[in-house]
């Protein structure tokens, strides 16, 4: 599992009121009833939380939770290198 996966799941649970039990690494945002507009809002919150710039086009509702965690990690790695 990626380093930021647990932190990203915490964000989904704490800030977006999603039940922890239904979140698995291969769960898509669409599975969580997160549509494209809501995903943009989620990205804004994640950017603030993790101190990164993800960009609105980096993730789609068909992407998985673990992919989002990897995008955050890549951005963190990029911003420190």
């Amino acid at each position: 599992m990626t380093a930021k996966y647990d932190a990203f799941v915490d964000l989904l649970v704490d800030r977006f009121n999603i039940e922890r039990a239904i979140i698995k690494p291969d769960t898509t945002f669409a599975d969580l009833d997160i549509d494209s507009l809501f995903l943009v809002e989620l990205i804004l919150v994640a950017e603030h939380e993790f101190g990164v710039t993800i960009g609105e086009d980096a993730l789609y509702p068909t992407d998985t939770v673990v992919k989002a965690a990897r995008v955050i990690e890549d951005e963190l790695a990029g911003s420190t290198s």
Binding site: F16, N17, I18, L37, F38, V40, E41, L44
Partner: protein
């Protein structure tokens, strides 16, 4: 041709006096004012309001609703659910194409607008939520009610300022009467107790400054009144044609008998002192109902607790209905819920008819001598009410009058 009768089969309210008819109506009848100092308004020239107590949107509306629904929609959904459940109609099996939704709102999602504008100023355009527009648009409240209940019939939002809720209920009444839908879910909602809105109303000079005694601040028709107390909330009714309701053996709260709508065509914020358009709206509502002025037992007044409203309205009521009709303003308890007020007060007018209880005007210690009416003051009056009228007026000069009968 005789128009088919329209009846009220469901009621729901969310107000500062309580969430749900069972909580709010006893408090309104007891004349217990809900106004209080509001920490969210600290530092403003006016910091009193009538907000809905302990409204947990996550629990009452849905776990994600704070992120997706402006508060005015949250309040509306709770009131609409109560009204639909109360009607005994079954949204899972009804013909949704025959169910209409009409909701009034004066200020829509201003709290979302205000928060997102702060984000723009603080963090730039990229921090603005993509949900801002769908959260703040006025029409979204009727959209959400339709989504909640699968109501695919005519769907609209009315904006006539503080008459919006009454305009909505009147419009829905005509739609049901005229056969454009079989069921209408109709009401009003506003949640505009925000620093910017309150600062603006304060600047207009329309809010009470009785800051040291908030519970005494909203005092319609009292000689010591000095403005309204801003409130929030929602009221909803379910309307059906009488024959349909009787055929399914529904509980009938009362009949909706008439609607009158006019405009002052006079001034942006000041009512026409002659009150001609208010008289016309009263005449129109009674005419539609086939009622004579002396048949009206109770008027739920707009009664905002501003001098200009109360005096103009009192003169119009006296001229249209005479001096003996029982009148009260429930805003002494609930404050002024803006576009929701007309719908909340429609619910109270129906309850007055159904229960034979006229709710009082709170804080009426000394009736303004210029108000030559029988104002029901401080405690409820038990009296048979066969005909109740509810007045609502808005900035812009819009007037809406609803008539209900037993």
């Amino acid at each position: 041709m005789i128009s088919p009768g329209v009846v009220v089969t469901g009621l729901g309210v969310v107000t500062a006096a309580g969430v749900g008819v069972e909580a709010a109506w006893p408090r309104v009848c007891a004349g217990l004012p809900a106004a209080a100092r509001d920490p969210a308004l600290a530092g403003l020239p006016v910091d009193i309001s009538c907000t809905v107590p302990e409204f947990d949107a996550k629990e009452l509306v849905g776990p994600r609703s704070p992120l997706t629904h402006d508060r005015f929609v949250q309040l509306a959904l709770v009131a609409a659910r109560e009204a639909v459940a109360d009607s005994g109609l079954e949204p899972t099996s009804w013909d949704g194409a025959r169910v209409g939704v009409v909701v009034g709102s004066a200020l829509g999602g201003v709290s979302t607008w205000e928060r997102q504008h702060q984000r723009l100023l603080a963090g730039g355009a990229r921090t603005v939520s993509p949900l801002l527009i769908p959260m703040m648009m006025h029409n979204m409240v009727a959209g959400h009610v339709a989504m909640e209940f699968g109501a695919r019939g005519p769907n609209l939002v009315t904006a006539t300022a503080c008459a919006s809720g009454a305009t909505a209920v009147g419009t829905a009444f005509e739609m049901v009467r005229d056969g454009r839908c079989d069921v209408a879910i109709t009401g009003g909602a506003d949640a505009a107790v925000t620093p910017l809105t309150v600062a603006a109303f304060a600047k207009m000079g329309v809010l009470s400054r009785r800051l040291s005694e908030p519970r005494a601040a909203s005092r319609p028709f009292d000689v010591g009144r000095d403005g309204f107390v801003i409130g929030e909330g929602s009221g909803f009714l379910v309307l059906e044609r009488e024959a349909d309701a009787r055929a399914r053996d529904a509980k009938i709260w009362g009949k909706m008998a008439g609607y009158g709508a006019t405009a002052d065509a006079y001034h942006m914020t000041t009512p026409d002192p002659a009150g001609a358009a208010v008289l016309d709206a009263l005449d129109m509502a009674l005419g539609a109902a086939g009622l004579m002025p002396d048949e009206v037992d109770y008027v739920n007044a707009h009664g905002t607790s501003t001098e200009v409203n109360d005096l103009t309205e009192a003169r119009a009521i006296a001229r249209a209905l005479g001096n003996d009709v029982a009148v009260s303003s429930t805003k002494g308890v609930t404050g002024h819920a803006l576009g929701a007020a007309g719908a909340i007060e429609a619910v109270f007018a129906v309850l007055a008819v159904r229960t034979g209880t006229i709710p009082p005007t709170a804080n009426l210690e000394c009736r303004d001598p210029a108000v030559e009416l029988d104002i029901v003051a401080n405690s409820a009056r038990r009296h048979r009410v066969d005909v109740a009228v509810s007045n609502s007026f808005g900035f812009g000069g819009q007037n809406a009058v609803l008539a209900f009968t037993s």
